[in-house]
Symmetry: C2
Subunit: 456 residues, 2 copies
């Protein structure tokens, strides 16, 4: 297969999962991916969901062979605003070593990389001793709402595999590939405080009542200590420690504190618990205020005591932290700190498990990692070093990919996440693109990795 | 003059100052008030302003006589939403002892009360030994923006008078009249904190930076002590003390803490500095959060670290507190408490002076009150007792009427504020009305008060 032409064709199917008017593009992308899988010798099942079907494909020959599951998604983000694109987001164009188009990087490019590598390997080894499954969903960009039911129906079959191979994470640049070893979990909650029935005149009634904004800021301010650490009992109890080798890996990351500070445009950093800023976003849990509101927010002033005020909070959790336990601990702390004069409501939002795989051979690694996963990590290190010129860095990441934790918790599969995006790719933004040098090198590297997993 | 018919005619002039489409109503009301004043023997000057002219009228006969200035406003609030009115807001209708219409209470009814009383007195004493001035402005409902220039041009003439007579405040019901002895001052400011250049992904960057909402809540929370008092150095330095007689007056106020609590719909009160809730809104200064905002405020969650967050703050000040000093003290406290990692901007908004007149003979009263003001307060007490059946209560109020402080500061005039509104009047709301029994009794009481001031 011609990787570039394949990616161009795949990208032309405008598969925007959130917008019903793109149903044709969704169907086209699904059929295109199905055809690619069939050409590679997979039997493809189109698994119906409430919205966009999931492709489940298998190429299973011998239960004794190692078994790898590959994950991807055929849906893309909306392309609006169209006028900010240099070329049509759904008519891909190559400029200066990059292919531009919605989904070229997220996640169609990496999917084509995997398939191209697999195609090359299978040309050389038609009887490759490796069982393979594919899960390509169509709702990743809207939060993977159908994956839970998919694990109900397919979890057991998936659990017979050894591990998951994913390329839906990032690397700092085209020379330095990152293998992501962990993603943070998530806890969502919202607090609302109510005082009087209606907004009150702050002259007529000011001084008698507890202003809900005042109480809200007091509660919110209590949730961190002066050093920036989270002030909720038990919050740090089970935090997975930072190992020296992780700090060492991070030191090789091609970003300095100063370049990071300038990129964000902040005056200074405020990491907690003795972590550096670059460590804190990867290795530490957080309690973050995502939004706050109450009272008058227009121009100038309006002399009211608002009836209500609210704050939106999410926590990012690191490995070993239990989202439900943390959510309850935060809720209990808030309840305990809310003054009696106000009515408190708390919306407990969703939670997502953190996930971590310590690379085989590193301190803290699990003893019972499948031999194929051990080979895969070893090969990733040497193959990427050989092709890209530098070994990959094994780093935890700060974001959350709930489906990765689900593969672990619902099917027992660890993930090897090899990042093919870079910050230049403009994911989710106009002029999304995929680096053709990464594409070319990654196909070669994955060709080696697949062979090493199969032992050929 | 027939008070009810006069008020009906005055109300029919739809004098909404904020809406240019009511220019005809503004002019009609101005001309109507001018005619009334001329009929009472005043010479009327229509003082041009940038928007709505001010009526300045004089009936000055002998510099030896006492001299009273009466203040009112001929503009009204908008009547929208019209569909919530039982009858046309600008076609007044009498129902169940009340006259309904926009402006019947605020402030046309009280103006007609004053003029009707004056008319009766002048019928009996055409050569009444009392100099009188009138200031009737047309921009009270939009914040009296032209009064400053008016004091530039007319302050000196006004300063020759003895005091100001105003009925633009409230009483609890038709039996219990309140003479308002003080109004609170106002300080306005807004703080904004800026962190990163743009909203950041809370997964990718969470843990490295100081969330502006977090810092904002910490600063805001620091502005009160746990007991609810304001935690700003010097805030209470010059606060006019609460005298025992003021507490005694308030005990006779026909409202209990429990009825007040139920009316507001709060679970409990939170007054500071040992004041009761009913005392705190009158006798204590406040620092109140009127609005707060930052980050995502829509449904559900969005995992951002916002770039910015803001809070709107106003302080209500009691007598002797200097607005500029307090504003600076709050600004300095905020600046001192803002972490270095964030960029702080503070908008210093407007300020308004507090105002207080201690009724003659009460502890704390000024020694140099004009004899006419002493007679006025004495007569108000006895005349209102005689007509309404109960003596008035002399109470400070929590709201702010900047023009009252301006009459003091720009022309040296104290104010006797006799409240003719009640909470049933629906000021600024649909179905505004004025109580006809208050109207009738107040005319009789003011007739006596004017005679007593003149000594006839």
């Amino acid at each position: 297969m011609d990787p570039l032409e394949t990616l161009k064709s795949y990208t032309r199917h405008a598969s925007v999962s959130t917008d019903p008017s793109y149903a044709g593009g969704m169907q086209g992308a699904r059929e295109f991916a199905t055809k690619l899988l069939e050409q590679l010798g997979f039997s493809v099942e189109v698994v119906d969901t409430a919205l966009h079907p999931i492709l489940y494909a298998e190429r299973i020959r011998n239960p004794e062979w190692p078994h790898v599951v590959l994950y991807g998604h055929y849906d893309v983000q909306p392309a609006d605003p169209f006028k900010l694109w240099t070329s049509d987001p759904f008519e891909p164009e190559v400029r200066d070593g990059r292919i531009y188009g919605r989904g070229t990087a997220d996640n169609k490019g990496p999917t084509v990389v995997h398939m191209s590598a697999l195609s090359r390997v299978l040309e050389q080894f038609p009887d490759l001793p490796l069982n393979l499954s594919y899960v390509i969903e169509g709702e990743e960009e809207i939060g993977s709402p159908s994956m839970e039911k998919f694990f109900d129906s397919h979890g057991e079959r998936l659990s017979k595999a050894d591990f998951l191979l994913v390329s839906d994470t990032g690397s700092p640049n085209a020379e330095q590939i990152v293998v992501t070893t962990a993603i943070r979990g998530l806890v969502d909650l919202e607090i609302q405080l109510k005082g009087a029935n209606v907004d009150l005149h702050s002259g007529i009634h000011g001084g008698a009542v507890y202003n809900p904004i005042q109480a809200l800021t007091e509660i919110c301010a209590s949730l961190h200590n002066p050093d920036g650490s989270v002030n909720v009992p038990g919050f740090y109890d089970n935090v997975f420690p930072v190992h020296d080798w992780e700090r060492e890996q991070l030191k090789q990351y091609p970003e300095t504190e100063e370049s990071y500070r300038k990129m964000l445009g902040v005056r200074g950093f405020f990491p907690a618990n003795g972590l550096s800023p670059l460590e804190a976003v990867r290795y530490g849990p957080t309690l973050e205020f995502n939004g706050i509101g109450g009272g008058y927010q227009g121009e100038g002033s309006k002399t009211v005591i608002p009836s209500e005020a609210f704050a939106k909070i999410t926590c990012r959790l690191v490995a070993n932290q239990d989202p439900a336990t943390i959510q309850n601990a935060v809720v209990e702390a808030i309840e305990a700190r809310c003054p009696d004069e106000l009515e408190l409501s708390i919306r407990k939002g969703g939670t997502g498990e953190p996930y971590m795989v310590v690379p085989p051979g590193r301190p803290g690694a699990s003893d019972d990692q499948p031999a194929s996963l051990v080979r895969a990590f070893k090969s990733a290190e040497s193959s990427i070093a050989e092709v890209f010129g530098k070994p990959p860095l094994f780093l935890r990441e700060g974001g959350s990919i709930p489906v990765i934790a689900d593969f672990k918790n619902r099917a027992g599969l660890d993930s090897m996440m090899i990042g093919l995006f870079t910050p230049l790719d403009n994911l989710h933004a106009p002029d999304e693109s995929f680096d053709l040098s990464i594409m070319k090198n990654a196909i070669t590297a994955f060709e080696k990795i697949i062979k090493d997993i199969a032992g050929v």
